[in-house]
C-alpha cells in the first residue's frame, strides 16, 4: 500500500511501486482528467502537480509521489490561481478536441505560480513540452497572458513572494 495525498485527500493505493502515477490516477482512482498521450514524457497530456511543480505523471513512478501532494485537473479549482487559469481558458475558448487541455492547464498553472508575469520566452519554454494537434497554442498563450494581467492574481502572487 502506498499513501499519497491527491487533491488534498489522503489516499491509499494498492499498486506496484513502479506503476506510473498516471495509471494509478486513471485505473485505480478513476481520476480520468489526466490523459495518456505518449507514455514517454514527449507530449505532456499527463501533466500533474507534485508538491506544486509540473511533472509528467506517465514517467513518474507512484512510489515517488508517496507522502507528497498531488494535484490533478480535478482539484485545480481549489486554488485561486487554478480557478483564474480555468476562467481565462473559458474566456479565450481555448479547447478544440480538448484531450491535451488538462496537461496544458496544469503546465500553465505551474508556470504562473512560479512566475506570475512570465515573458514571451518564459511562456514558450514552459509550454513547449505540451503537444496539441488541434493547434490551440496561440489561444493558450493568450489565456496565460490574460492571467498574468489579472490584477487580483498579481497581488496575491506578489504577496506570496
Amino acid at each position: 500500500m502506498i499513501t499519497i495525498t491527491i487533491n488534498g485527500k489522503k489516499t491509499k493505493v494498492d499498486a506496484d511501486p513502479s506503476t506510473p502515477l498516471l495509471w494509478v490516477l486513471r485505473d485505480h482512482l478513476q481520476l480520468t482528467g489526466t490523459k495518456y498521450g505518449c507514455g514517454i514524457a514527449q507530449c505532456g497530456s499527463c501533466t500533474v502537480h507534485l508538491d506544486g511543480r509540473a511533472v509528467r505523471s506517465c514517467v513518474t513512478p507512484v512510489s515517488m509521489a508517496s507522502g507528497k501532494q498531488v494535484t490533478t485537473i480535478e482539484g485545480l479549482a481549489e486554488t485561486a490561481l487554478g480557478k483564474t487559469v480555468q476562467a481565462a481558458w473559458q474566456e479565450v475558448d481555448v479547447p478544440q478536441c480538448g484531450y491535451c487541455q488538462s496537461g496544458q492547464i496544469m503546465a500553465a498553472t505551474a508556470l504562473l505560480k512560479e512566475t506570475p508575469h512570465p515573458s514571451e520566452s518564459e511562456i514558450t519554454a514552459a509550454m513547449d513540452g505540451i503537444l496539441c494537434r488541434c493547434g490551440t497554442y496561440n489561444r493558450i498563450r493568450a489565456a496565460i497572458q490574460k492571467v498574468a494581467k489579472h490584477p487580483l492574481l498579481a497581488e496575491q502572487s506578489g504577496g506570496a513572494k
Binding site: R26, D27, Q90, G98, R133, C134
Partner: protein, 727 residues
C-alpha cells in the same frame, strides 16, 4: 418505435417528418429512445432519465425550460456540437443559456443527409445539416406557437416566439416552452415551415463560445479512454510488426505470471493481454515471446517504393482529366519545365490513441468509443459478434482528435475490440499505446507526382501534364462503388483534376499501385498532396513568366472564380508587395479550394540556423455563410498547425516491413515554440455554407515552400521540408 423514425432529408421534403406520433408522447416511449451519454462512469444500473418533451430525435424540452439538443455528429474538436446547436436554436428561438448537448445513439434518423449512414467527415457536417437542422428548429417552434395559441384561444398569427417563450402581442401574455412542450408534442407536424431570412439571424453569424469548453477545462469531458465499466479488463494487443503478418507461435508463460494479468488470448490481429489496468497489461505484453509469420509485408521499404513510384509517374496512367491536347501544347510552348515530387505516408497521431470499450452479452453488445463512423461500426460489430445491428449500441464519446483515423472504412479498431471481447468473455477496454497507434497503419498514402508544364510567350500556361502515383484509399472498401469512377479514385486526384486555372491543354493521370500498407483519409484527403504540387508548380510558372505570384494567379483564374476573392483578401491583409518585411523574411502564397471552400494563405518565413521558421500566416477564407465565426477561426488555425506539422516534420517510413517511427520524438508534431501567428479573414458571402474542418490545410505547405524559394532560390519538392539542408 423505430418504425416511427423517419429521416429528415433536405433533399426530400416529402419525408421531412421527424420522429413523431401521438403515442410517442408517453414518457415510457421516450425513454425507449433515450440513450444518453453519461457524464459519470456507471452505466447499466443508472436510473432511467427524466422524460422530456417534445419527444423527437433532436430536441428535448424539459418542464423547467432546459433544452437538450441531440447531435448526430461526432465532436472531435471541430466545434460541431456548438455549430449544429446554433442552427437549431436560431429557428427554435431558444434561450441559448438553457441549452445543453448530447451525443446521438445510432439510428436511421441520425443518418447523414447525403449518405445512408451516420458518420462525420469530409467537412460535410454544416453543409449537409444546414437546412435540416434549421427545419427541425423551425418545426418545433411552429408547434410550440400553435400549442400556445390553442391554449389562449387566439389566432396563431398573433403569436410569436422569443427566448424560449411564446408571446401574444395583443394581450401581452407569455408562456415558456417548458410549459408548452407537452401540448406541442401532441400536435401533428407542420407540413411547411418558413425559414428565416439571413438578415433576421440572431445566433447564426455571431461569434459563439463552444458548448463543450467547460467540460474540457475541468477534466470532466469523457473521451473513450475515460470509460470504465464494472469488472472491465484493460487489454493491450501485440500486433504483427509487419503489415499482414500472422502469429506463428507464442509463449506467454512469463506474461501470465505478472500480478494483475487475467489472461492471454490469441485474437485475429495478434496476442491480447487482459489485465486489471493499463500498466500490468503493458508490462505483461513486453514479456510475450511471439514468433511471427511475417509474409510478403516484410519486404516493404519506402525507399524502394519511392523509386518504383517515381518510375511509374513517367508512364501513362488512367486519365482523370483531359482538356485539349498536351502533346501539341508542349510543342507550341515558349518555355517548359518539369518536376517530380515526393510526399510521404503520414500517421494521424491524434492526441488520444485509439481505444474501444466493449461490453458483450449473448444478445447485446454495447460499445463506447470515439468514432466518426457509427453505422458502419455498428454493422461490422454485429457481424463480428453474430448479432443483429439493432442489438449493437454505440455510445459516441468525445474524440481526442479524429482527423479521419476514427472513420475507418474497414471498422478496424471496432472489429478487433469485439473479437477481443469474444475471447475474454468480460467487458474490455482495448487500448492502443502511442506506438501501436503510430505503427498501426491506416496512413495518408505516400505519393509521387510528376508535372510537366509549359507557358506561352505571354507567360500564360499553355500545357499542363500531371501524373499522380499513390494507393487508393477506397479500394476494397464499401466506398469503392461510389468513389471510384472509371478506374479513378476521386480522392486521389481531387485538387489536381479540379485545377482551376485557365490552361488550354491539361492532362491529369493516375496510377493506384497496391501494397500491404493500409491507407486512409487524413485531414483534407487528396488535397493534402495535390495542393502542394499544384500550387508550388504554379509559383514556378509565375517565376518563369517573370510575374508576381498573386497577379499571375489572378491573370489565369476565370473572371467569376471565387478563388479571386480569397486571393485578393489575403494579399490585401498581408500587405503583399507593399509591407516591408524584416530582413531575411519572405512571403509565400498558395490558394486552394477543397470541400467547396476557398482558402488563400500567405506565410511569412525565415531561416533560423538552417531551419525553416514560419512567423505568421495570413489566411483568407470563403466558406459561404458563416455559422460561428469563432469556429471558423479555430478551424483555420487548427488546419494550419496540422498541415505545418506534416509539411515541416511529418513522415512515416518503412524498412524491412517495419515502421521506423514510433512516438512523438521521431514523428514530431508542431510544438508551441514553432507556432506562427495566425490571422484569419473571412469573405462575406450569402452562398450556402461549405466545409471548414479541412480546407485550411492544403494551402499551408505550398505557401511555405514558395516563401522558401523566395528566400533561397531553392524549390522544395519533397515533404517533409526538414530533410532539406539550408546553408
Amino acid at each position: 418505435m423505430n418504425n416511427q423514425i423517419e429521416s429528415i432529408t433536405a433533399q426530400n421534403p416529402s419525408r421531412r417528418k421527424f420522429l413523431k406520433d401521438s403515442t410517442a408522447l408517453m414518457s415510457g416511449l421516450v425513454i425507449g429512445f433515450y440513450l444518453p451519454i453519461k457524464g459519470g462512469r456507471a452505466y447499466a444500473a443508472d436510473a432511467p432519465p427524466k422524460p422530456v418533451y417534445p419527444p423527437n430525435a433532436f430536441i428535448r424540452i424539459a418542464p423547467d425550460d432546459s433544452i437538450i439538443i441531440v447531435i448526430n455528429k461526432s465532436e472531435m474538436g471541430q466545434g460541431v456540437y456548438t455549430s449544429l446547436t446554433m442552427l437549431i436554436a436560431e429557428e427554435l428561438e431558444a434561450d441559448w443559456s438553457r441549452i445543453s448537448v448530447e451525443s446521438a445513439p445510432v439510428a436511421a434518423v441520425y443518418n447523414h443527409t447525403a449518405m445512408p449512414m451516420q458518420m462525420t467527415g469530409g467537412s460535410s457536417s454544416i453543409p449537409s445539416s444546414w437546412e435540416q437542422m434549421r427545419r427541425i428548429g423551425a418545426s418545433a417552434r411552429v408547434l410550440l406557437i400553435r400549442a400556445a395559441a390553442q391554449q389562449w384561444g387566439v389566432p396563431e398569427s398573433e403569436c410569436h416566439a422569443e427566448n424560449s417563450q411564446v408571446i401574444h402581442a395583443g394581450s401581452g401574455k407569455t408562456v415558456s416552452y417548458g410549459k408548452l412542450a407537452d401540448a406541442a408534442a401532441k400536435l401533428p407536424l407542420p407540413d411547411n415551415v418558413v425559414l428565416k431570412s439571413p438578415k433576421d439571424f440572431k445566433i447564426i453569424g455571431k461569434p459563439t463560445k463552444r458548448l463543450d469548453t467547460p467540460a474540457k477545462i475541468n477534466g470532466s469531458a469523457q473521451f473513450g479512454l475515460d470509460v470504465y465499466l464494472p469488472g472491465m479488463l484493460t487489454v493491450l494487443i501485440a500486433r504483427s510488426p509487419v503489415f499482414g503478418g500472422k502469429v506463428k507461435s507464442f509463449d506467454a508463460t512469463e506474461a501470465r505470471k505478472l500480478p494483475g494479468v487475467q489472461g492471454v488470448y490469441q485474437v485475429p490481429t495478434g496476442i491480447a493481454v487482459a489485465a486489471s489496468g493499463f500498466w500490468p497489461a503493458k508490462t505483461a505484453r513486453d514479456l510475450l515471446e511471439i514468433e511471427w509469420d511475417e509474409g510478403p509485408g516484410a519486404a516493404l521499404s519506402t525507399t524502394k517504393m519511392r523509386a518504383e513510384f517515381l518510375d511509374l509517374a513517367k508512364t501513362p496512367g488512367a486519365v482523370a482529366r483531359k482538356d485539349g491536347d498536351t502533346v501539341q501544347g508542349f510543342k507550341k510552348a515558349h518555355k517548359s519545365i518539369s518536376a517530380e515530387y515526393e510526399i510521404p505516408y503520414l500517421a494521424h497521431a491524434a492526441m488520444e490513441p485509439l481505444n474501444v470499450v466493449v461490453d458483450l452479452k449473448p444478445d447485446h453488445c454495447s460499445i463506447w468509443t470515439g468514432t466518426q463512423m457509427q453505422t458502419m461500426d455498428c454493422m461490422m460489430a454485429a457481424k463480428t459478434a453474430g448479432l443483429k445491428p439493432e442489438q449493437v449500441e454505440i455510445h459516441t464519446t468525445f474524440l481526442g482528435g479524429g482527423f479521419g483515423r476514427r472513420a475507418n472504412p474497414r471498422s478496424d479498431f471496432v472489429i478487433e475490440a469485439v473479437q477481443v471481447a469474444m475471447a475474454v468473455g468480460k467487458p474490455v477496454k482495448v487500448v492502443w499505446t502511442r506506438e501501436d497507434d503510430m505503427q498501426g497503419g491506416n496512413y495518408r498514402p505516400m505519393w509521387s507526382d510528376h508535372i510537366e508544364a509549359g507557358i506561352a510567350k505571354d507567360g500564360k500556361p499553355l500545357a499542363w501534364k500531371h501524373t499522380i502515383v499513390g494507393q487508393s484509399i477506397v479500394a476494397d472498401t464499401p466506398f469503392e462503388g461510389f468513389l471510384v469512377k472509371n478506374g479513378i479514385d476521386v480522392t486521389s486526384v481531387e485538387g489536381a483534376a479540379t485545377l482551376p486555372y485557365v490552361i488550354p491543354n491539361v492532362q491529369v493521370e493516375l496510377h493506384s499501385p497496391k501494397n500491404a500498407v493500409p491507407v486512409q483519409w487524413w485531414r483534407s484527403v487528396g488535397h493534402s498532396h495535390t495542393a502542394f504540387v499544384v500550387e508550388t508548380m504554379i509559383d514556378e510558372l509565375a517565376h518563369l513568366a517573370k510575374k508576381d505570384p498573386v497577379a499571375y494567379r489572378l491573370s489565369i483564374l476565370p473572371s467569376d472564380s471565387r478563388y479571386r476573392g480569397v486571393l485578393k483578401l489575403a494579399a490585401d491583409k498581408a500587405g503583399w508587395g507593399k509591407k516591408k518585411l524584416a530582413a531575411g523574411h519572405a512571403y509565400g502564397l498558395a490558394v486552394h479550394k477543397s470541400f467547396d471552400s476557398y482558402v488563400a494563405e500567405i506565410a511569412e518565413v525565415s531561416l533560423e540556423n538552417g531551419k525553416i521558421r514560419v512567423h505568421r500566416v495570413v489566411a483568407a477564407v470563403d466558406c459561404g455563410i458563416v455559422i460561428n465565426p469563432d469556429g471558423v477561426h479555430q478551424q483555420i488555425e487548427s488546419a494550419i498547425v496540422y498541415g505545418l506539422s506534416a509539411a515541416l516534420h511529418g513522415a512515416i517510413t518503412l524498412e524491412n516491413g517495419r515502421v521506423m517511427q514510433s512516438n512523438f520524438h521521431d514523428y514530431a508534431p508542431l510544438r508551441f515554440s514553432e507556432m506562427p501567428q495566425v490571422e484569419v479573414h473571412i469573405v462575406t458571402s450569402s452562398e450556402a455554407p461549405t466545409g471548414i474542418g479541412e480546407p485550411g490545410l492544403p494551402p499551408i505547405a505550398p505557401a511555405v515552400a514558395n516563401a522558401v524559394f523566395k528566400l533561397t532560390g531553392k524549390r522544395l519538392r519533397r515533404m517533409p521540408f526538414d530533410q532539406e539542408k539550408f546553408v
